[in-house]
Symmetry: C2
Subunit: 163 residues, 2 copies
């Protein structure tokens, strides 16, 4: 984690940017989070910690960290962007449970290879990609897709990674 913040500093400095106190506070929240965080989550967490950071600064910092490659940004269609640490962990894609909001990460090198093949086919230069599979996790199960109203208000399982 200290290692991670150093890498964040390096990434910023490489672009002539500083790791100021507000930026560090935002970065630490995302780096240590056990789930994907939205700007509002970070805002709220810092407020509760007694170290509030302005809304604009949080948004600017998250965007900046994404540009530097230290955070990954995802949009699971809930009308807000969420972030997770990118440094020090391998690339992965996501399964998103429509029932409970759980996010499961997966790696499939063969898909990545096929993607390269596709982009070559179209003389396309890939910069990044977004591969998400939406459905129902093991716990929400096959019953969910039916008219099961219990799932309109997604239950939040304790030990899963929610957005």
């Amino acid at each position: 984690m200290d290692r991670a913040i150093d890498k964040v500093r390096d990434a910023l400095q490489a672009r002539g940017l500083r790791l100021t106190k507000p930026r560090r506070l935002v970065a630490e929240k995302v780096l240590s989070a056990r789930r994907h965080l939205a700007a509002d989550d970070v805002l709220e967490m810092l407020r509760r910690d007694g170290t509030p950071v302005a809304r604009a600064t949080v948004y600017r910092t998250l965007e900046m960290m994404k540009e530097c490659g230290t955070f990954d940004e995802h949009d699971f269609g809930r009308g807000r962007k969420v972030y997770e640490r990118a440094i020090g962990r391998p690339h992965h894609d996501h399964l998103y449970c429509i029932g409970c909001g759980a996010i499961i990460e997966f790696q499939e090198p063969e898909i990545e290879r096929l993607q390269d093949q596709v982009t070559r086919r179209y003389h396309f230069i890939a910069m990044y990609h977004s591969h998400k599979i939406f459905g129902y996790c093991r716990r929400c199960g096959p019953k969910a897709p039916s008219g099961d109203k219990a799932h309109d208000e997604p239950p939040r399982h304790q030990d899963t990674k929610n957005d």
Copy 2:
């Protein structure tokens, strides 16, 4: 196209919904479009045609058509959802050009197969997925990723499919 509108009607009726005039007008725009359309595009096109439909109705209809499986909805990160006809055409995914906004469709059955494998691995029941590759198309080329400011205002190629 007449065939298509009939399928739209059937899909609605199967859910006890009617194909009213405003809904038909919205549906026809998306069915006949040569590119992905946002709600605002549809709104504007209908206004220009002299057959205006209320904003709320357009949004409601697009959502409804998606639910019925007649339209596909995509979000390419430009802050608005876009739609394309789904009936009468095979499933595909997209390459999105950051330079000019061009959208290239691709099909890769092998990726779909690997996806199934992934979901099985996690006991996940997939309902739909979103697979997008962002980068630069043949015309925007390898020069684009550099600090080429000419691409801040994406040029719009005449014969490509923009969102």
